[in-house]
């Protein structure tokens, strides 16, 4: 019984740690994005609240909480109020399978540095990402606004397009590691990260992830200059902030996912495992911000063409090639 309580306490501590790091990271990623984007456009970005604008996320949070919570006339009230929680919820759930270090030994007990090491970790993450799209689809539908609905329709079209290449690009990694558990996948990269064997899969994954986070050049569901703000146009205050939070959590999560699957997870010299994972996780969000600063938005048909005509067949060929090489090498 004592063991059970000790295990429960350790689990709670791990959950608090992951939630704290993920949410703080998402809040500060907004600041990083605004500052980096600003510097790329010869501006400073926010630098008024606190030293170097470091308290800006706090100020934003206070502002969002104080804003009026509007529900548009004719909206599906229940759905409209519920739906913003879906995206942050699914993304935070996905963080549960992210391992952030080797096993620790505390008082003779092995404590794995992951909330739960699912055997089907990769599948779990992929299914959660599909559930996350409901926030967009239902949010746009429940708003009773044509722009929101158009955004939602585009978002669903986008989801259908990216899911196939995203899932297929991960198959070679699973083949190489022989497991769907993220812990096993990271352990399989102890000597060499998979990006060395699977550069094509990494590129495919990054491109599909780019479509998944719905940011420039694939922000068709938001498309400020065509659809105002797309699916979250009618949302205000904290409900809007939840969409925003979900988007940035998703960026961080995809960074962590890419780090675990392709970049060797927590493995690395000198620095502690957790620091290595953070560094590797940061690559993806910064890349996404850089892409946002550089590229214009694609049309929906161009996006679908890219996903269906290029990414999906390439991913299939990549699986075929990986299988052939593995078969030849025995």
């Amino acid at each position: 019984m004592t063991m059970w309580f000790a295990g429960f306490a350790v689990l709670l501590v791990k959950m608090a740690l992951v939630l704290g790091v993920a949410l703080t990271g998402a809040a500060y990623l907004v600041l990083v994005e605004r500052k980096l984007l600003g510097r790329m456009q010869l501006r400073y970005g926010p630098n008024r609240v606190g030293p170097f604008g470091l308290l800006q996320p706090l100020a934003d949070g206070v502002k969002m909480i104080l804003k009026e919570d509007l529900v548009p006339q004719g909206a599906d009230r229940f759905l409209f109020m519920m739906v913003p929680a879906v995206l942050p919820l699914t993304t935070l759930l996905a963080f549960a399978v992210v391992p952030f270090g080797t096993e620790l030994t505390i008082m003779g007990q092995q404590v794995p540095m992951v909330i739960t090491d699912l055997d089907v970790g990769v599948l779990f993450v992929l299914s959660l990402s599909s559930v996350g799209v409901y926030s967009l689809a239902l949010g746009g539908w429940a708003s009773n606004s044509k722009y929101s609905l158009l955004g939602a329709v585009r978002g669903v079209g986008q989801m259908i397009s990216y899911e196939l290449p995203l899932g297929l690009s991960l198959v070679p990694v699973i083949m190489l590691a022989g497991s769907m558990s993220l812990v096993d996948i990271v352990n399989a990269q102890a000597d060499m990260p998979f990006i060395v064997y699977q550069p094509v899969a990494y590129v495919l994954f990054v491109l599909s992830a780019l479509v998944e986070v719905k940011r420039t050049p694939f922000d068709l569901a938001e498309a400020e200059n065509e659809l105002q703000a797309g699916f979250h146009m009618e949302y205000s205050g904290m409900r809007f902030a939840l969409f925003f939070l979900g988007e940035y959590l998703n960026m961080i999560f995809l960074g962590a996912f890419a780090a675990l699957l392709f970049l060797g997870g927590w493995h690395g010299p000198v620095l502690p495992p957790f620091a290595w994972l953070l560094i590797k996780t940061a690559i993806m969000p910064i890349l996404l911000i850089w892409i946002r600063a550089s590229l214009p938005r694609l049309r929906p048909d161009q996006m679908m063409r890219l996903c269906w005509v290029w990414l999906a067949p390439l991913a299939l060929l990549n699986i075929l090639a990986t299988g052939a090489v593995m078969l030849l090498k025995g």
Binding site: R39, Q41, R43, Y44, W290
Partner: protein
Amino acid sequence: MDERKGIITSAAEGTRGILEPFWVTLRQLFHKPITEEYPEFKRALPERARGRIVLTRSPDGEERCVACQLCSAVCPVSCISMQSAVREDGRRYAGWFRINFGRCIFCGLCEEACPTLAIQLTNDFEMSADDPMQLVHEKDTLTVDHGGRHPDYDFYRHAGVAVRREPGSHEDEDAPVNPKSNFP
């Protein structure tokens, strides 16, 4: 794809078109931002910049405004209101004078309309307030103790109650012509 160019040139140009923006944005990252940070750095405004409206005084320290209502009439957003009053010596003045800066569009038509050069726009534009009522300025906050852009002008030396003199003794006025001297 442009048919005349061929697939290799098109592909090369497309790749360059995708990759070059990344180099451009990366280069800007190491430039110094061109932002002028406002409260610390204030740009010098042009001489005729139009900002807060003031009521000026003539060189002898009297109010210039004669409450003729012309500024109020010309104001396109009707933000100026006043009530005229007459002093014991017959000189008119504004009993109260009110400008709602919440409505004012700083077009400067009131300044153009003013016959006594009383109402003038200054280049002070920092007048934000927490409450809309704080933007409604009354005569005491509008009146300043100088002549603004025209410090030497005095309307009453040219017209009005003070000018009750013999014809021709007026400033800028020639002596009256004797009509009888014009006979051929």
